[in-house]
């Protein structure tokens, strides 16, 4: 069967329509993601506006260096992802696999560093709940801040894990030669998702790590 026939699902008229539907679908999905994280951002905005001091204190508990490194790692992974999409559209299979692998690696690195941060917090008894051990000023509202810290970065990390899973699948598909210029929608759409997750982090970094850096 020619590639164009393999690529077209039965209910679409042509490939253009199919591509259109796939990308529009992904963008619409990303809008739902914006609103999903949006609930957390809204809560964050509320509490930061009424407890500015406590959010400053809380922010000082975050490791800026690790956060900054992770930002760079994630932005780099976005670059490799963009290059992977390009390779897929041009049909450069070897490059596609290489860039996907690079993205996967960077994504895992990000998760590793995140895990390190979490375990630090855990050892320092900075996890909200019964064993919470922070005794500085505003300790309850600092706990509130840390709820946001864990909630937002945790949800973000969950998205990363899903993204890593998607990358694995794509690598297998690419390996088997199922990704061709006409059948590259999946890579393109996964790229959109990956970049979105990157954007979320771009906002989380200053909002969680940098609040009180000047003090």
């Amino acid at each position: 069967m020619p590639d164009s026939e393999l690529a077209l699902a039965h209910h679409f008229v042509d490939l253009d329509q199919q591509h259109d539907a796939a990308t529009l679908g992904m963008w619409v999905f990303l809008v739902t993601e914006i609103m999903f994280f949006g609930g957390l951002f809204a809560g964050y905005a509320l509490y930061r506006s009424i407890y500015p001091a406590a959010f400053g204190h809380g922010s000082r508990l975050c490791d800026v260096t690790l956060g900054a490194i992770n930002t760079v790692v994630l932005i780099s992974s976005s670059l490799t992802m963009a290059l992977a999409v390009r390779a897929a559209q041009l049909g450069l299979r070897a490059r596609l696999i290489a860039f996907l692998a690079a993205t996967l690696l960077l994504g895992s690195l990000f998760l590793g560093i995140k895990f390190l941060e979490y375990s630090h917090k855990f050892h320092e008894h900075l996890v909200p709940g019964a064993g919470f051990g922070y005794s500085g000023p505003n300790s309850r509202q600092v706990q509130l801040f840390l709820c946001f810290y864990f909630g937002m970065t945790g949800l973000h990390a969950l998205h990363m894990v899903i993204g890593v899973g998607v990358l694995l699948v794509l690598m297998v598909l690419a390996w088997r030669g199922h990704i061709t210029p006409l059948r590259s929608n999946s890579v393109e759409v996964a790229g959109l998702y990956w970049h979105f997750v990157d954007i979320v982090w771009i906002f989380l970094f200053p909002l969680l790590y940098l609040v009180d850096l000047h003090k």
Partner: protein
């Protein structure tokens, strides 16, 4: 089919700017501008996000429709946050009565 293939140079340039802005936001945060701290942090983040959206996510080459979809998402987030804050920030406005 109108799929735009972007040169890797563009991607690398955008990447460089993003890294520079990351450095910038960390540096800016070392100074205290009072209430402008958040504004500065969010502005830089917004610029970075815009770059990612425009170039990595090819919004710049996408249809009008895609742009509207994304704009709706952003606008709705702003609605959520601003109407929420319209409650929280104005709660203290009503002066308490003189009773004592």
């Amino acid at each position: 089919m109108t799929r735009h293939i972007v040169s890797p140079k563009v991607y690398l340039l955008v990447f460089a700017v993003l890294i520079a802005l990351t450095a910038a936001t960390t540096q800016v945060a070392r100074f205290d501008f009072g209430p402008l701290n958040v504004v500065a942090a969010l502005t830089i983040a917004a610029i970075k996000a815009t770059l990612v959206v425009l170039f990595f996510m090819h919004l710049i080459h996408s249809s009008h429709r895609t742009k509207v979809v994304l704009a709706a998402g952003v606008l709705w987030l702003i609605i959520l946050i601003s109407l929420l804050l319209s409650d929280v920030l104005t709660r203290g406005w009503l002066p308490a009565p003189k009773a004592w």
